[in-house]
Symmetry: D4
Subunit: 230 residues, 8 copies
């Protein structure tokens, strides 16, 4: 690689392959999160080092066990969260306040990978999480059974693949903010999550908002933006 | 136009621009139905004449008032059904048996155009029709309120645009055959009915079947095939 | 039309072509809003009558002047809002509190049709609205000039067509909830709003949420859900 | 994972990652079927245990040999059906009534994977199955040769990839219900089954219904819904 | 318009807005044909004048009555062919040889617009045309009834909308070259002719070739290329 | 409309519905151009007034005759350019230098609408334009005949609809910058210009760049950026 | 597997998983060809045995070396053709007539896999083949250099990936039948061959016909249909 | 393989599987570059040999380590550039002029693979390269910090995946030519780079041009065309 200015700049540190954004927490409320997909273990470690040196917390999404093995040689306290493919720089301290902040609902068992990405990120940022999994509309009684609990939440995240009908039904029963997360679960015309995404965007229920397919992280971040300002 | 053999052939009558299929009723259970879109009034009348001469009933779908005006100069008893854009050769005799055969459910008011195409065709073929309109999932109590009646039907047709979640919810509550009809109602990613179609095909409820977007006629025909063999 | 039970039911009134949902306000926080597209003037008036008789406010979106002319013969106080194609049952009382609730930002002049749908709905539900129009990223100084005001808002709605980059840039500068609304403004690959929609869903800024193309109403409703719970 | 209520609930058993729907048989006519794709062997075994304890039959679709090896250590009577990738909790008892219920037709040899999924599910639910394989329209005499047998069936399932013309031709020759199943067999524009799906949905034959690409299970379930009510 | 060299060039005449290709007949076997869509009447007349002055025949496709009215003030012998939207510079002399060259088959009445474009172009270039219209696969006996005649043709053009299954069935019954023409007839997923196009391209019958949607002209030209070289 | 700060701001003038960017010329080399589509005549006039008052030139693209009629009541010297649907605030002074700057090539007559948008914009910004129209690859001698002239240009703009092969062929014959402009000319799979766009993006010729479908303005602007820096 | 009638039927042999079409040669001119993709080695061998016993030639496309190894234990004379992934039952006898029948042109080296599938199939059916490879339009002189030879061919097959411009250019220079074969060569918007396919279908050259992406076999078969009838 | 003329031809060398274009440098300014994807190591070496024998430089893109290992046995001075997957026939001599020619900007770390393909190709052709990596719009201060340097460049290449907003923002701040390169970085609706591509084509900033997804080579070539003519 060639002639590039590296080192500290106003608001970021330049590593050549990355300019780590150190004042994001101040601007947006949360420190930079490392999106692991497509980055080498060494790149992830270098970025983490910058965050660590600046006293900021480390959260790596879309990672894998192999990266983690290399990662923990440098950050021995780091923890691997298998279901959500997340590395956190420190073990997660779960909050046990009475008031529950977010209800994360998932339509089916295969949606858990995405739901847990949302749940873990939310917990990392200090939010309390209710989990309601496998409450898809094909067995409505399972959803209705959880409804009293869900109504106490400040924000609802509804995760679903296939036709993605779960947020539509919830939207007609609740007055809270609902963030819909389509997943790539399904096959045929549902493959890739487009059917769920389009279903959520065209929902007959009013006032749902939607994030990208499989973007559990983004849903948690959006919930954080809502709760932070409350 | 050129050298073509016209007139009666085994099983059909050749008009040059059309070969009217006169033994379809015997093969498939129903006489040929005239799909009006893209045909001139004169073509529709000529085909109708062949059916009439063969003693078969006349049903024209996807027509319009202008065609009807010309049509009734030749077939004065013909009736125009505005909401479904259908011409029938005769006024429809509604069946009032106790046993109800088909329940036609529509998610919203703007889906009625399609639902009524299904309803009218079904009635034309001698089936009894329950109508449950505006029972979309955004107000679940409206659907649940109709559920006892729907459970008595032999076949259910579920019509919905936008995200098309209605058949998914019904599929989890019923054991009858459910024919899902996506409609082109909606805008943005839902425009054209693709979102509803894909949602119905990837439904988490088991054993739904689907017809083309806005194809109320086809859904009624499929219901007829089921009931005829019962 | 046929044998249907009409009249009052638990929680809704059945008009045959529509089941007006009278307890939606209680469940979801806002009364039913009439989506005008594809409904006849007469259907809109009948539904409005039910809402009016139940003491609920009337809001019709995606309407047109012709419908309005017929509408006001029945509801003489109704007002036509041209830029947003909205009918309200009553003149809108604008709130002039000091605290501003929503900032609605639009990238270009041709996005105003959608931005004003959001703005008017929000005002109808009692929210205060800042308007920042024509702040697209091609002239960044225009957006930066409005930033101090926008930072005081509780929720931000960012409306953009074409490539839809506005919410991405705002997402990196703000910590509030941001609801991105793609519009169908553009041509070529942007036609229909798909490019803006996809751009917003894949934004490099974290925690944006998105609604359907041109869905100003839905964005306002989502903002209402957030503010109502604050 | 966190604070979740597990155990028996009205109508389902909560395993945390799944809420097994125990009254589906009563509502929809068939017990819950386990969709194997994306579930771990351990998850499949846990769900099967719940069904088994409730005296319900076990059927796992889209599984693989590796899962089966682990599965049979817990359920030693379980059988692996290779061509359809299905695990059944018990060996299948084939019905040999005179009256044949379903005719399953497949256009080509490579469609058998899907056709057999349909056939096996149907047999699992007690239906009798005729198999007519490799009867695609490129050699019409093969199909016509089977037609007398097919006409005796109560329901027809027509499985085809590539252009998916088989159900169109059959629709013009039969009066029974026909459930069309597009398969992902093909390449180029046919890849993924979209061409077959769209062909079946736009068929010139009347009253066909369609399920998702490769959804042999769904077709069998739809046939079951029809026959159950006959 | 600006500084452009107009007038005669080697092999073409430059009109500024068009360079009329005068040696195409020599290179490709047929004189330039004027594609009428998007050209003004005046542009069409100017190009026709160049062809006329060079002693070449005039054929305008995708035209309309309004253009024709203006056209015939300059070329009084010109003829308007309504069903195919074609203008020919001279009345067409139909060839009545015994040997029939092309069989043009159309699946339905609404496909005639395209079939007649093919038929008229073929006749313009001196080919003899058999017409077999409304022989879609939903009534197979109609097609089979024409099969003896079709087998005598040198080339077959098969025109179909919706699922476009006609060429697949014909491909399995014939050994001649078959040119498949998808049409934009249909609605829902078939709208625009994509379903027919994809069906024809993925046909299970071997050795079909396909032209663009609604391209009757192109199919006739391809047939001409085949016959010219025989 | 509501409480908005209007009037002069640093670098722009705020009209409420538009913030006219007055220092764009300094930043990007050209003054703001008014995209006429979707703007009212009154909006266009107001924006033009701001530009005029700031001593900047007025160029309106994608306009129409009706807007122009209203426009010239305020700006009597304004000129309507029909083929390109452009309004210029002043008559265009054509430059007659010897050195030719841009060669604009169009594949067919129906592509002229787009080619002329490019040509007029380029001339408006002081560039000299060669026009080579109807040089599509179906008659290669027409293109080769123009090649000597084209080779003298500093930048080449290649406009083509349908399959868009023109820039590929030119790319293999020239060493200059080539900006490819796909047009929406065509039908069937070419409709909308997607086929041409994709063909240009995947060209086997190296170093072509592409703008949006029908974006003649953008191509001219890109050419301007290149020439300005030479 | 279950109760199926196997054995000889009129015109085909039923193997249960396949009905081998033995009179295809009589109907369509060529014996059944085995499409290897998705079939097991054992299925391919069984079908080949039926063809062999009927004295028909064996041709397997889309196969692989592993299948061939098993295949030749049963048919020791069988030959593996690596570049085209074809197995022939016998070594190919190349025809060396003076008169050349087919010219197969390929735009680039990576298109050879498809071009060779066409070439080998054509040779298998007794046609003589010219090969002109790497004659893409980015270096027009390479194509023009081959043009004299190509003009002597009876039929031309033009194979190209990426933007697929080769057949367009050839169509303007030749009067023979041209069969265009898009390939899946390319990346980005060209990935999968859609760009090439669409380009060929919308070609500005008249009378091209097109087959499915990568379908070299189909192009050869279409050429065979043309030549057989000459 | 069969009867093909190999060896030297006017302007190219025929290897049978490839016709190496030896006068491309003269026509287009740069020698032929070998696109490695889909070519065997042996094919790449043979083509390289022809270039080498003609005294032309060797550049292989989209290669891999395995090919390189075989390649260097024949060309021992060849160098493998891992991040860009490029082989150069010789070590690259970096130019250290004062005047910087190209600024290559990348939005994120995972876009470097594409950015480096552009950078290396540009350096291979003698251009000087500035690198500005990880300057995506989510942290605008990082981009603004580099702006003074970027303004000195003759041409700007802007590489971005996901929503691809970087070139839009840069287009509003710069007057140079900007070549936008979408990358396939992202997931969900961004997968494959379509969202970035469409965003760049519909950018609200004027005069951007775009190349195919991941086409760093093409962007560098386009920059070369611009600079060569300056």
């Amino acid at each position: 690689m060639s002639s590039k200015q590296r080192g500290s700049q106003p608001g970021f540190t330049d590593l050549g392959f990355a300019k780590v954004d150190l004042d994001r927490q101040q601007r947006c409320g949360n420190a930079e999160v490392i999106f692991g997909e497509g980055k080498t273990a060494q790149q992830i470690i270098s970025i983490s080092q910058v965050l660590h040196d600046a006293g900021q917390p480390i959260l790596v999404t879309r990672s894998n066990l192999e990266v983690y093995e290399e990662f923990k040689t440098r950050f021995p306290k780091a923890v691997w969260h298998e279901q959500s493919s997340i590395i956190t720089g420190q073990p997660l301290k779960l909050i046990k306040k009475k008031k529950i902040d977010i209800a994360i609902c998932a339509a089916g068992t295969t949606d858990l990978r995405v739901a847990e990405e949302a749940a873990l990120c939310a917990q990392f940022w200090g939010l309390n999480v209710q989990r309601h999994y496998d409450v898809g509309v094909a067995g409505l009684h399972r959803l209705l059974n959880s409804m009293d609990a869900i109504k106490t939440a400040r924000v609802v995240i509804a995760v679903a693949g296939m036709e993605g009908a779960l947020p539509s039904v919830m939207g007609g029963l609740l007055s809270q903010p609902i963030i819909a997360v389509p997943t790539s679960v399904g096959y045929g015309v549902g493959q890739g999550g487009q059917a769920a995404l389009h279903g959520m965007l065209t929902s007959c229920a009013s006032g749902l908002t939607v994030v990208n397919i499989d973007n559990g992280f983004g849903a948690a971040y959006a919930a954080f933006r809502i709760i932070k300002g409350s």
